[in-house]
């Protein structure tokens, strides 16, 4: 289906846009704002508001008709292969499916001292307005912090009967994140038989999400992952897809 934006009449193509240009407000600035709008495909564009901020910036609001058409049949989306659950749904699913708390052990391994990632996912504080896994009553979370050795991680995972192990790697110098991850997954393979091994998850801003098999882990999460996504994945992988 071919569509255009809708203002108040089908097919009118009207959109609104706001932005700041790094110049003081004058006639030339308004012309520059319209030029930008035109180049973004708005024609005609109406400058409805301009306001200088401080010495050298101007804020604009522009309304206008976009010339572009959109074909909904050509839209490509990358589908997440598991449903995104709310915190409530995650807790309910674990309660129903496991009948016990799901044990998660997290750590930064190797020399990596950047706990930013693991804390964002695990700490109550969380990230982007989402609370971390600690806030889920049905998840028993152990956050081992930074610079954890692989043997310590394996030992703690065993002791806590971890269902899942989360490892965060931020430092990527000389591919440290890849080496560390391979060492970690190998250690778990060696220490525990297949049925007893926890789900292995790594995360970090520079991982390629397609490398899971190569690194010997079950899942890779990349930049922008939120606690809820991780929790939903845990339910998907450990409790089963049933909601």
């Amino acid at each position: 289906m071919i569509i255009r934006p809708y203002g108040d009449t089908t097919g009118d193509g009207m959109v609104q846009l706001s932005f700041t240009l790094p110049i003081p407000h004058d006639k030339r600035a308004e012309g520059a704002a319209l030029q930008l709008a035109n180049r973004m495909g708005m024609d005609p564009a109406m400058l409805v508001h301009a306001k200088q901020m401080g010495d050298g910036y101007t804020f604009f609001v522009v309304y206008g008709k976009v010339t572009h058409l959109v074909d909904t049949d050509q839209v490509q989306v990358v589908e997440r292969d598991f449903p995104l659950l709310s915190a409530k749904e995650v807790n309910a699913a674990v309660k129903r499916g496991l009948r016990r708390r799901l044990s998660v052990v997290g750590a930064c391994i190797g020399t990596d001292a950047h706990t930013v990632g693991i804390d964002a996912i695990l700490n109550l504080k969380g990230i982007a307005g989402e609370k971390g896994l600690e806030s889920y009553p049905e998840l028993a979370v152990t956050n081992m912090g930074a610079q954890v050795s692989v043997p310590d991680l394996v030992e703690t995972a065993r002791e806590r009967k971890a269902d899942a192990v989360l490892v965060s790697q931020v430092v990527t110098q000389r591919d440290a994140h890849l080496h560390n991850t391979r060492a970690m997954s190998a250690a778990f393979r060696e220490a525990l038989p297949a049925g007893k091994r926890p789900l292995l998850i790594v995360g970090g801003p520079r991982f390629d999400e397609l490398m899971a098999a190569d690194l010997g882990v079950d899942r890779i999460f990349s930049r922008g992952t939120t606690p809820r996504e991780v929790a939903s994945y845990l339910v998907h992988a450990l409790v089963g897809g049933s909601k």
């Binding site: 700041t20 901020m53 706990t115 804390d119 964002a120 700490n123 109550l124 307005g129 600690e134 806030s135």
Partner: protein
């Protein structure tokens, strides 16, 4: 504007008495322990500066060396100044360097040598405290010269670029645009570092590291801007996490004006050991009291985890505990920026009336405190238009209930770190409300709904305080009474930095405070 809720004075007195009973055992605990960070703060006041080539501050190296030789139960002051007297070194930083290299050993003197070491330690830390006093006098002078903001609430804005040299022009621009208080958000993760980074820093995660040099640079820049705009622009940072006492000390030395400093935030939200937190917090509040710094407490955080209606009384309980701990540490009412927030689900019927009830309750329970009023975050969805409206109602509630410090809400909360235009629109929102309705509180008399709700929250708070008194505050924290986190006293980060003090413990700074 006190008295609109007709709170029963006997009930209010009962709430305070319960808070004191709940808090006292924790104060006793704090008085009988020290921590690595308290001892490092003492050394900072005594003049230890700088860091080793790996960026580990000399105060850390020195405390570690003393601890290895004689333990910390006596305090670092005596062994350090005894070693200084015996080594022929003049400067404590040089002593720290020698100690790190292993060329100085520490021991505990007795008799006359101990008296001498105490006297030397006292003289050195007194010089540090004199600097703190001078900074305070300097602030008083500048406020006299440039003046306070013309309106209440004061307008509080955040900058958070990660780079101090980017933060400075942004902070100055925000002050010119109307901000009365600038807060520099710290880098994610700094709260869990057991040392304070050194120097001017240009990279942080979602915030800028709190360092002495960053404090100095920002304060100097805002002094310039204060002169330019004709009002004293205040600077805020965070005395929280594992280095609370040291950061409080650095704030005192560099004339910061407000510090985030909550009694339980680190325990609940950062899993820092409860005893570590209470010991560190008491010392840091003593420093804040001396430095004339206004603390901001973090009750808003409870409402981001729990439901803002169901958990309203936990905010009141925490405010009462924060007040008790603050008074005990020597802070005056004008220094208590007790926190609370506008976090009720806006889809709830009468949500705004409930907000007014909660905000008025805080106002009337703490009539002399400059309450810190925090904007909506939990129900900001990315719909920036609705967010701007919500922020407008937040501003209105702030004006209507006489809040002291208003943290400006951003319509792009939960979307991006604020853009220049977001801040401009947010300030325009605040100005419109304060201009148009700043004195509306004169015409506003709450009816039975708001009064009833305030009574209900207060009585729930008393119920919870009674349970805490019975149970013990540390047990209550261990059982997950606040937020939903269970934090036992023998767990959490930074526990190995806590030491029970011996009979001969000596801390020249605590003695002075």
């Amino acid at each position: 504007m006190a008295g609109k809720l007709d709170l029963d004075a006997a009930v209010v007195a009962r709430a305070r008495e319960l808070a004191a009973r709940a808090g006292q055992p924790v104060v006793d605990l704090a008085r009988s322990h020290t921590t690595v960070s308290v001892e490092r703060a003492v050394l900072r006041l005594a003049g230890v500066r700088g860091a080793d080539p790996d960026g580990i501050p000399w105060v850390n190296r020195l405390v570690d060396a003393v601890r290895a030789d004689v333990g910390l139960e006596h305090g670092v002051a005596v062994p350090v100044f005894h070693a200084l007297a015996g080594s022929g070194v003049e400067d404590v930083t040089v002593l720290a360097q020698k100690a790190a290299a292993g060329s100085v050993r520490f021991s505990l003197p007795s008799g006359k040598a101990a008296t001498t070491a105490r006297r030397l330690a006292k003289r050195a830390t007194a010089a540090g405290l004199r600097t703190v006093d001078r900074r305070r006098a300097e602030r008083d002078r500048m406020i006299k010269r440039y003046g306070d903001p013309r309106q209440r609430p004061w307008i509080y804005l955040i900058v958070a670029t990660g780079d101090i040299h980017e933060d400075i022009p942004q902070a100055q621009a925000a002050a010119r645009a109307g901000a009365d208080v600038i807060a520099v958000i710290r880098s994610t993760g700094q709260s869990l570092l057991d040392y304070v980074p050194e120097g001017a820093t240009r990279e942080g995660f979602a915030g800028t590291y709190a360092t002495q040099e960053n404090f100095r640079l920002m304060r100097a820049a805002l002094d310039e801007t204060s002169k330019e705009v004709g009002r004293y622009v205040r600077l805020t940072n965070y005395a929280s996490g594992l280095c609370m006492p040291e950061i409080a000390t650095l704030a005192g030395l560099e004339r910061l004006d407000m510090m985030l400093n909550d009694s339980m935030y680190g325990i609940l939200f950062r899993d820092i050991n409860p005893i570590r937190t209470f010991v560190d917090q008491r010392f840091s509040r003593q420093i804040h009291a001396r430095a004339g710094i206004v603390i901001n407490t973090g009750e808003d955080n409870y409402l981001t985890t729990a439901d803002a209606v169901d958990a309203a009384h936990t905010v009141t309980v925490s405010q009462l505990l924060n007040e008790f701990f603050a008074h005990e540490a020597g802070l005056a009412d004008w220094q208590l920026g007790l926190g609370h927030a506008f976090e009720i689900n806006p889809d709830l019927p009468d949500s705004f009336r409930l907000e007014l009830a909660h905000a008025l309750l805080a106002r009337e329970l703490f009539p002399e405190a400059p309450l810190k009023w925090m904007p909506p975050t939990k129900h900001m969805t990315g719909d920036v238009f609705r967010g701007n409206l919500l922020d407008g109602f937040f501003n209105l509630a702030g004006a209507l209930t006489g809040q002291g410090i208003l943290l400006v809400g951003m319509m792009t909360e939960a979307v991006v770190t604020p853009w220049l235009s977001d801040r401009d629109i947010a300030l325009q929102n605040v100005r419109y409300v304060l201009n148009g309705a700043g004195n509306l509180h004169e015409d506003f008399t709450p009816g039975p709904f708001i009064r009833g709700r305030a009574d209900q929250v207060l009585s729930e708070a008393i119920g919870l305080l009674e349970r805490i008194v019975d149970d013990g505050l540390l047990n209550a924290i261990a059982d997950g009474t606040f937020g939903i986190m269970k934090r036992p006293a023998d767990r959490g980060k930074g526990l190995d930095g806590v030491v029970a003090t011996g009979a001969d413990y000596y801390n020249p700074v605590s003695e002075e405070l």
